[in-house]
Symmetry: C2
Subunit: 218 residues, 2 copies
């Protein structure tokens, strides 16, 4: 739980060697991306749950809208990566993205998926820098759903199996509520969305206080 | 030209401080993603050219399919970043992605967009690691189009203005032809596509020779 909180707070990529690496590629499940049509009709890319309330792994999330990638993010100046380095890629379901463009904030049924992939060094003709590994090392999800306690829930997936919600109170919820730029989400790290949120006046009081000025987007 | 070649070869992120930073966010141009519908109908996400053959900046490419991100990639062990660090995000138009899923290779009218963003250190509550900057520092495009000399063309955009094709011969074309995993594209760095290409038998002879075994995907 503590580790999950850290991961979700800031996409911290702590050593993940002990994690089960049985994730798919994010491309399985359906043959074509025929659900959301981006034309304003009813979207079908919201969260799905099992009968006992666990969230199912979002299908083909890797074909959703990419928001950003981070490398080895940490809330701690002194955090050690212990030889492991990871990219964290963030995707959002298209219906939520479309709503955000209009409003600067997230609608109900928003799903933010954070997937981790190893950051590899020299491979093929890349001799320096980092590239993303084929292997997924983690998938974590932040969902806005009025059915969930507090309106938002975190889910940490272990392979493709459904995941239970992280119960409140938890440091992950606290940190998102205290530091995130928009509606408990870290839009300050989503380069194409921060300006939209600012323009719509959707930046959180906590974030505005943190940056010290309502007119600064950093 | 030389610098372009290096950039395109391996997403090398050389110092870009002198570049014009007048790019949009990739979200401009049209109000909604209403063109491609992912249902097998005719797609409208192919390349557009001016009357004199320059390529127009692809609209809303950032809502296309994300393939990977890299950090400070270089073909050169000794390359110095000179204080600059960049993410390179790669997107492909949805119609090409859909075709790749079926065939393991790219159809005509494929567009691969490589956008560069600064890799920022500590900001907000991220104290370590790297996050992507709001500012775009470069947009480069690789297009498969039978109308182009050799069937594929590179375009380096300077802001949102149309870009001329990089003429052959050029080291960028040579390196892609000599080292890229699929049809002169660096699919070895696209974690969800390399396995598909291998399964479809679409890996290039040059790449298979480079990795030393037809059965290895690395």
């Amino acid at each position: 739980m503590l580790r999950l909180a850290f991961l979700l707070i800031l996409f911290v990529t702590m050593p993940q060697q002990e994690r089960v690496r049985s994730y798919g590629t994010g491309n399985e499940g359906v043959v074509s991306r025929s659900g959301p049509d981006y034309n304003g009709t009813v979207q079908s890319d919201g969260p799905n749950y099992t009968a006992d309330g666990q969230m199912k792994m979002p299908e083909r999330y890797r074909e959703w809208i990419f928001l950003t990638s981070g490398l080895d993010m940490s809330y701690d100046h002194a955090a050690a990566m212990v030889g492991h380095s990871s990219f964290g890629n963030v995707f959002v379901n298209p219906s939520a993205y479309k709503a955000f463009e209009k409003t600067g904030t997230w609608p109900d049924k928003t799903i933010l998926v954070l997937e981790f992939r190893g950051a590899e060094g020299a491979s093929s003709i890349n001799k320096q820098g980092k590239t993303e590994s084929q292997e997924l090392t983690g998938v974590e999800v932040h969902v806005k759903d009025a059915k969930l306690d507090g309106g938002w829930g975190f889910f940490e997936f272990d392979g493709d199996a459904p995941a239970k919600v992280v119960k409140r109170p938890s440091s992950c919820y606290q940190c998102h509520e205290n530091h995130a730029a928009v509606d408990t989400t870290f839009v300050q790290f989503y380069p194409t969305l921060l300006g939209l949120a600012k323009a719509k006046g959707a930046l959180s009081p906590a974030y505005l206080k943190e940056i010290g000025s309502a007119g600064t987007t950093k």
